[in-house]
Symmetry: C2
Subunit: 416 residues, 2 copies
């Protein structure tokens, strides 16, 4: 079951094909655009069997949800929220920096939060309170004044409690492509947002891609994956446990171990079989293991090349010198350094984010962080002296590009 | 001609409609996907009348281009390049920061340049060497190892010289949607890129939007615009000069003056008429003035609200206290503070970038800078002690979400 893997064409293979659902997603979008809230209610009835009407999650429902959730879990969510807040606070840029780069020429950058964002939190058969924290906390830390959350009906108590802990009081029980359409276009009750973040299935992803001209997105989403670089110093049971944790997400999840030690790959395989026997989500794991496996690299440089071609969502470094490897290896969504850093920690509570680019998209996009929720404006302040220092260059280049009025806008000021 | 302007629905009105060209752009993309270089050569012949064959710009052509360009202009380009480099260097993040947020829990962010990017530089009847600098220099400063530039044939000497000054030695004479397709998909000579940046016409924009799943883009492009907030202390001739500079770009350009001083608006109108008489690009300017004008706000707060609804590409603050206003006003692509800071300076030589979001997209996107050319990876390093500190929370949340193997990946390490 645990076998050598051919990783050629990895990125293309891992990119979900949304073409099969585009037709139905376009219809859903049209319905929401045309019918607004009434369309949402009808779609929730059709797809989720939800007869509850209004998608608005009321404050009293959140209060009631607290009664249904174990206090230990509430505490765990609060602890996770505190760490996620702490780490995301560290990412913040100064709201304005300015530097006089030469006399009279001051340049800088002003950073502002987005005005309004939407977080999509999957639901249905399971609840993902951690995704509420991972999407809403960075937005709140960035200073976004309006954050809304959409999650499929009926809306699990854990999800509702997590919303409150994340500091979001605007929630809607609407899921799938219709939730994305509502946030991107706006309805009577759900205001249009500037950006939509959060994971989702192929319908959600298709809607995000189709509506990108109306609301920006974090990045295309796909099934979760882990890349592990390990050497003979690694503990095979740790690696096997990480592979199983990755695999239990979804039948489409994938794990790749890249190692120079063929013996380690075998030992990991034996550990996987042993652990699998008692794994509650054995069936899902077995399906995910079908796209998983190991690559034996002939040396460290080749191991890095193989992993760089994958640019994995999660990258685990279980080698003797992980800090050196951290500097050498290429793009990855989130990097887990050393033996005591299972991906599960980043999924929940170390403070880093778990909304990450998959399928090689880490080579283009960054995992969700505070910067996703901000815009940067460049700023310039010239004095008369500063304008004089650069005026000749501006006039010369403007004239060369045939833009005489540009040159004149400098000249009129230099004439005083 | 200079008149009160109704800015309601501004963002929607300014967003170009690409639907009219989608069909022909899809055909162009298909041709490039199917025929590669041969397709490019055929499309350049058809659309640009270019019979020169290969799109590759050779090193000796760049050398020859130097002979055709005035030394004063070469110097001006070098001076602009130095300032743009300086400012973009200031934007760079540390390649790795780590902080131990509690004993044994170290978190941080690693920043890496993209592997390969493409810059689109418009051409045809005019040359835009400044756009070469504005797209390529930030990529070079970010550390992108492969930067290519596409510009419509035949390729102006000024553009070729600017390429060399920007430090780019991979250039192609191919324009329009076919250039975007070549960079996003890849051909025999033009390697696929991770991201495409730079302005372009409606065909270029449509191709960028259609190919966004294959190569990410900077942001949707549209006609240029300026928003000016001014009070009675402003010099009407400066404002008029800025309006004319904006207007000469393109018949679709637009300028909006927002002021509490009706007298200033009138004085600006008189200055515009006076200056227009001698403006070389009078016809273009007159067309652009048709979508331009002023808004009289009843007070400062209303002026800010009107401008925030526009979120202009260029924002000029010509008021008595521009530094205070800089802190209060909302999203804008690039902000020009005070009377001696014409937009033309940012267009060419102050060091800030001129590739900026238009049509209200500044409320979602940032102007081109070093960050557009980097990815951020989150990093976590736990020790045994650190894992123990957060292990309970991770296990509790994993179990609550029904992900037992996640909990087990923590437990197996805590058992030691």
């Amino acid at each position: 079951m645990w076998k050598p893997l051919d990783t050629r064409g990895w990125r293309e293979r891992r990119r979900g094909d949304i073409s099969g659902v585009l037709g139905s997603v376009r219809e859903i979008i049209d319905t929401v655009r045309r019918d607004g809230d009434a369309g949402l209610i009808e779609l929730s009835r059709r797809f989720d069997g939800f007869e509850g009407g209004s998608p608005v999650i009321l404050p009293e429902e959140i209060e009631e949800a607290y009664d249904e959730v174990d206090d230990r879990l509430i505490e765990a969510l609060c602890e996770a929220e505190a760490r996620i807040t702490h780490f995301h606070e560290l990412q913040k840029s100064r709201s304005l920096w300015l530097e006089e780069i030469e006399p009279g020429v001051t340049l800088g950058v002003r950073t502002r939060p987005l005005d309004r964002v939407g977080c999509y939190v999957p639901g249905g058969r399971a609840a993902y309170p951690s995704t509420v924290l991972m999407t809403a906390v960075p937005a709140r830390v960035a200073g976004v004044p309006e954050i809304c959350i959409c999650t499929p009906p009926p809306g699990d108590p854990l999800t509702l409690v997590a919303m409150d802990i994340a500091g979001v009081n605007e929630g809607y029980r609407v899921g799938g492509a219709q939730a994305i359409a509502a946030m991107a276009i706006g309805t009577e009750t759900i205001g249009k947002v500037a950006k939509i973040v959060g994971p989702g299935n192929v319908y959600v992803t298709a809607a995000k891609m189709l509506l990108r001209g109306e609301a920006e997105i974090d990045f295309p989403a796909g099934p979760s994956e882990i890349g592990i670089i390990a050497d003979m110093t690694a503990d095979p049971s740790y690696i096997a446990a990480d592979v199983l944790a990755q695999a239990e997400h979804d039948p489409h999840s994938a794990s790749v171990l890249v190692t120079t030690d063929a013996g380690l790959a075998d030992r990991v395989g034996r550990e996987i079989e042993r652990m699998l026997a008692s794994a509650p989500r054995k069936e899902i794991i077995e399906k995910a293991l079908a796209h998983s496996g190991y690559v034996i690299a002939s040396n460290r440089a080749e191991a890095i090349r193989v992993m760089d071609a994958i640019a994995p969502e999660h990258l685990s470094l279980q080698v003797a010198d992980p800090m050196a490897l951290l500097q050498e290896v290429g793009h990855a969504g989130s990097i887990f350094v050393g033996p005591y850093t299972p991906v599960a920690c980043g999924d929940y509570a170390s403070g880093t984010n778990h909304v990450l680019p998959t399928a090689g998209y880490a080579s283009v996009y960054s995992g969700l962080d505070v910067h996703h929720f901000c815009t940067r404006s460049q700023v310039q302040i010239l004095t008369e002296e500063g304008l004089d220092a650069i005026g000749d260059v501006v006039e010369a280049l403007a004239e060369a590009e045939g833009l005489a009025a540009h040159a004149e806008s400098v000249r009129v000021r230099r004439r005083g």
